[in-house]
């Protein structure tokens, strides 16, 4: 499965659940922006490694709202401690989706350690995450995102879709996200 296909399915699942969606830096955010832009999407433009953490703080603050995170293998490897923190502190409304393409896709597809055999599914389990999913086929992704997993690893092909950069400033991304969130809370 191409990463942009996985992102499109995840975005659809997020919209269906009225979920907030935190998206990793680089091409994944650009692909998400191009396939399904929503005010509920937060596009990370910096701080590589922290998508899962931003989503965790958000999920703890908004217990009534589903929070989904689209992360990557390179980014999770940069912040591996996040798996231990998620294992013990993530609330039920939190879902971390790791799109594992075995490489640093936004910088020229240099291989990550998952390409060499590091197993993010086993790492998440070993960190103490009880409900971990592994998806290798596109048809299995949507059901996995609607289940009760806390972490889902999705195997995707390397390569980026030819999508433009995100046409929003950091302030615009954040302000519309927060405005939407407060309107939802008041409704």
């Amino acid at each position: 499965m191409l990463r942009i296909e996985a992102i499109a399915l995840a975005a659809e699942a997020a919209a269906a659940q009225d979920a907030l969606l935190i998206s990793n830096i680089g091409f994944p955010s650009r692909e998400l922006f191009s396939v399904r832009d929503r005010p509920e999407n937060f596009y990370m433009l910096g701080s590589m490694g922290l998508a899962s953490s931003i989503g965790l703080g958000l999920a703890l603050a908004c217990a009534e709202r589903k929070v989904m995170v689209l992360d990557g293998d390179g980014s999770v490897l940069m912040n591996l401690g996040t798996l231990a923190t998620i294992a013990h502190h993530a609330p039920q409304n939190y879902l971390l989706v790791i799109l594992d393409n075995g490489c640093y896709g936004s910088t020229g597809s240099q291989p990550t350690c998952t390409h060499l055999g590091t197993d993010l599914f086993a790492l998440a389990k070993a960190a103490g995450v009880k409900k971990v999913g592994l998806v290798e086929r596109a048809e299995d992704l949507a059901p996995a995102l609607l289940g009760h997993e806390v972490v889902v690893i999705v195997k995707v092909e390397e390569g980026n879709a030819p999508v433009p950069i995100i046409g929003l400033s950091p302030e615009e991304i954040l302000d519309r996200f927060i405005r939407n969130l407060s309107e939802y809370s008041e409704a």
Binding site: I22, G46, P170, I178, L181
Partner: protein, 173 residues
Amino acid sequence: MAWQDNRVEMNPSLAVYQGMKRAGINFATSVPCVNLQELLALVSGDPEIIHVPVTREEEGVGICAGAWMGGRRPALLMQNSGLGNSINALASLDMLYGIPLLMIISHRGGVGEPVIGQVPMGRLTVPLLDAMAIPYFEPQQGEAEEIVAQAWSLAAAGRRPVAVLLDLEFWRG
């Protein structure tokens, strides 16, 4: 002398905690320092504060950013060594988007520091904050409650990270 009596009465951890409470801090992430242990116990025991002990300070910056986006008032409690671990996140997350954060920092590596490994970051802490244009406060004991509350107000109004540096002298009580 009167000022000495005040010092005896003033518990430094309690003063910082009361400042956090006055600021309405209701979310905290932390990496421990020996000087933060009493404060961490107060924060952990407070049902109004969601407290997430993290594995690395940068992770705490990310979690606090998300919590603020979700309507909470976040603080990161750490040693100044953790400031070094947080630089990129402070710059390319909090400062890029305009996200406030109160950093309560045990400032090791100054006068009286027994651990030589603390000295390099002890010296670099203020220059790093200056280089990033992150405002910081260095309260005396009697001022801590007021200054911590002020630091959050500055962070919230400016939507930026603000630091409170608490050195060895401060914790000596």
